[in-house]
Amino acid sequence: MCGTTAFLCLLLPGAGLGTSPPPESATVRRETRIFDIQFLTEEIPDFPLEDPGALGALLLCSPDTEEEAEAAGDFAFGAREEPAGRYWEGPWADEDIFVGGFAAGTAVLTGMEPPIPRWTRIDPKALVELIRRNIAEDSWANQRNRIEADPQALTVHQTPDVLDDIERLLSTLRARRARMVSIEIAIVPAEALDAATRDGSPFLSSEAFDRILARAGDRGTQLSFTAYDGQTVSRHIGTQRVMIRDSEVNQTGVSPVINAVIQTIPLGYLAEVRADAIADIEWIALHARVIHRALAGEPEIRKEMFGEFEFAPVSERSLSTSTIVRSGQAVLAGYLRGDAASVGSIAALVRARPLALEKPGGAPAKAPAGLRAAMYDVEFLLRAARAISPGLSGWPADPEDLVRMIRAGIEPESWSDARVEIDADEKRLTVYQRPTVHAAIAAMLERWRRDVLAVASIETWILRGKKGALVPFILAAGPDGTLPEKWTGLAGGAGLRIASEARLAGVPGEKMSSFGWVARTYVADYENVSGGTGWTVSEVPDPIIVSAGTGISLGSAVGILPGDIALARLRCVDATTRFDRTTTVNMSWGLSAESVIRAGSPLPAEKREKDASLTVFIPAKVDLPSQQAWVFDRVQTIPSGRPILVEARSDGAGDEPAMARVMRVRLWKGIQGNE
């Protein structure tokens, strides 16, 4: 029996059908005991970043036609419906549809439901039922014994040995509930990565984590967290800056009025992480997101008739992925670097290990011979199996398959017993069975969990050069775009330089993304709004503020097909934006006659009587930025480990109009060690 497999492993002496309740007689001693169960019944909160989205965006958009209506740096498996490009949207604006998975039987990446919160509280009623089912089951029919629970306390009137068993059960549950994880995140420049990362494996030793952090010196940042298993925690380190970034029109009154939009912008490092210990095996699933945000220049203060606001260039670099790490070891979540200052350089490493609150040890309690209930954590298994070629694998990808495979594979005849039960949802498998069956289930689940452990890394390079450099490089690639292992020499020889590169490592089916850009807000448009009464009409201009920038964003997800083939979804945007043109538009500005002063005195009296209100046109500046944007959005099947030329274009402008994009996907499946 694998003692740590079951979420609720009720190996209690005297529990189960094999144990008879004490005989009822006058000499049976009973007592009332009150157990504090608040620790078990209370929620464990999540602490996500308050505003996890990007401040800026990359692609230009047209405020009126919603042309190019998609968020810069964003990618999604489903169609986007909302217009994007506004500064309040970003790569995480539609978080829920990012959680990728494979639709069974198809080769199309589809959206999947978000992760289920783990180890949510235990309902007091369920706890009572659990105890009645597992501890001296037959004794509860005796009315002298009583058990009741509220969220704070469990009150039991029973014999002392049963009360002791309940105490032991609660102790086990508390230990499960108290599982903590230590998490460290190192944010370093990609240049600090050393030879340990060059073989493409995302897995690093703990020493390599420290070594890379030391190499980064003052440019490296380490953040540490202590969190519950499955709890989302976050930090913001840096400054907060208050800015007037927009003005908006309030139309709730009689006439429209214009108000400044004041925002508090967090600058510095923002990190969010969740660690889910994978049951029974020494691996931890990690969901990590880091953002570095800084002012990239002096803000432009724009003075308009209605007041002032700021357009600040903000550089943002971010990495986000869901991956796995061996306990106590580290993983390179990804890196992004470019030779342009706007892209910059960032790499994120994560190290995690469970925090042992008590030393393991002590003889395991003797398993009772009778039926007993146990719950097993199957969340990771189902999610991971779903991402690995469903229908072709030997692992259950949904709760129904899980139940079916267990019933067929483990003592099939035992399930005909009317007393046994098995049920599963996306998170837990609940079984009421004999100890031998429980042991077999635990062993089977552990084997499956190890089998479905997999990580995919996706690497992309953007090459730039003159038009003539493309052809020799294209010719060097095979008919399917496959490049030789040492393709960088070929590219250099052809006259292409690596303008940027990125690598992201993640669990198959989960999203990975990164961006590095300098973006700023600008006035993309004005909209006039009017209102008033029967005699008086007022108009005000409403500036439409959006964001665009220069840099790179990419998002990806990888699935595994049979034969070491990866199904990769990659969306990459590479944009260069210039804010060099403006125009002036005349916007309506509703006034009362008294508001207009002519040459130091109000309008003449006859004018005031004639017009209770009047409208003048005020000049307002609208920005007309220009942009070169390379947008790549594909789903491709790629053999694992081979560099592929996925795109080559020569329709750019400037000194380097040619662009080539190389991609490589590597898969690590059935991981047994820290490879």
């Binding site: 925090l355 008086t536 040459a599």
Partner: protein, 633 residues
Amino acid sequence: MNCRSLVRMAVSLALSLPLQAAVERDVRVFDAVWLTAPPGARCPALGFPGSILIRSPDDDDRAPWTLHGALGMDEFHGSCRGLIEKIPSLIAEDTWSNERNVFQLSADKLTVVQTPAVLREIEAYLAALHSLRGRRIEVEIAIVPPSALDRAAGARRDADPPWLPGRVIDEAVLAAGDDALVHREVIEEGETLGVSPVSRAAFVKDIEVNQTGTTPVENPVIGLLKGDLGFQARAWATPLGGWYEFEIRLLRLHEEPGARRATPSGDIDLTQGAGVLLFCDAPVPAERTIVLGELRWPEKEPAPLAVLARLRPAAVPAAPGGGGVRLLEAGLLARHWPGATVTRGERGESYVVVAGPDAGVEEDPLYAGEDLVEKARAALPLDMRVDPRLRIEASHSHIAVTVMGDREATARAADAIEAMVRGLFDTHAKAAEMRFWLGPIESAALAKIVDPAAGTTLLIPDWRAAIDPARGTAIRLAGFADRLVRFAAARGRSYIADVEHVSGGREKIITEAADPIVSWAGTGIELRAFARPVPGRPWIQIGIEGAAAATTFGRTLSVRTDRRVEVDEAGGMRAIGQTVDIDLPEQKAQTWKHYVTVPAGRACLLATAPDPADPKMIQILVAEGRVLSLRGE
């Protein structure tokens, strides 16, 4: 027939009609005014003008550190009245159906016609209630520099509980000299002692726009700046003899008018000041000094401090014994229970919900009266439980128990129920101490203080020896486990965070008005924290929400508040309307939200972060929680 008529008839019957010779009856009118009157409640508003953190001007929760209204609820009133109402079921229950006997409770008196023996029982019972109602507690609160506390109690108190010898408060005050701040008062049990700050100054706090009329109009908001110590405090007895439940909401804030900012609607006094806030609930042993909180940091404003308290029972006449009903202290269990409840929370919102008037959430007792009666009955042996003479009643503060006509059985039942109450009390009313340290250490020192056997979370026992503790902020807080402690120490100022325009009018006239939004932000630390032992395990849960921030003011942008334009001879236009400068503060801030389970008594590294002031240093946040034994004291 109204009550008065009933009483009159009963009295007249008792006095004029011939009574059966065998049964002597008498009439007694007991004064119930004092028994049923609620204890006093004085409730000055207490709170920081705002959070130290810069918040969005649109955030409704602009003053999250303010206590609204009174502490908890006044339940003692209902408790005594409830216990009086139970008399017919507790004393001579079978006799009340006899129409010759009368039990009439009005707002101010209790009229009883009964046999002398029953009247003596009732008298003894009411005397016991008088004793309960008459309990007085002397409350002393002192704020002293930590150095004065060290001189009085010794500097090496790391392993000591926060309950120190009673003399410590006196000696610390003496050692502090003019730096000490002392308050002493005698209060009733359950009374809310409200102390308002002494100094006050009027100022123009804000200008508000009133939109209830046809057109929006601007009105100045005149506020009162209150200086120095203000607090609310309340004390209750507990089932553990000699221990009080002590609730205190303390604020020491000194504010003064700062810069005057002109707006088109008039001038606004921006204020500046510094202060310390401590809201906590603690178990306090009688006659001892408790250190409710300590702050040690390198800042001079507000200065480091320790908050001490001592509670002593004031003498009250003892109740004459001999009654057939035993009154057992239920404390806490049947009253309000402002325990911290953890929720999953929403992005950016607090994850701890605490019921109570300042949270706008109704407080529920842990056990309603019927629940407590049920639990008391369940605690008795079966033979006693089925005894038809057994009567158990519960109120918000006490359990009344009697086995009618059998004092020995009453004593046995009371002892069993008392043991149950103590058990419940032990389950719910645990005490804990929390210590936090936030500060910079050299990057290389981190490896020296982390316990290599426990990942990166636990620190070695003598971790303080490897760093310079004086460079950081150390906070030590004591209180009931599970209750939220709120602490803040900061200096800050108010500023104009936004201007909102509104419009109104009709027909030919439209009026627009500008409403300046005044916020407050500052430099210092604020936290909400609680600790909760994990039953059966040597662990403790620590929850903390908070922030440390350093705020600078300087940048402003102006927004226009009216639309006036000037037209020049060439037809060009220039805005000449009035403007308001909006402050755009900047802030170096760390915010925390942590909820962890760690070994009790071990220092736990909650977070590390680079020190923005020095790249060779890192900022660490360390928390330590200890379970405090109430039984051992």
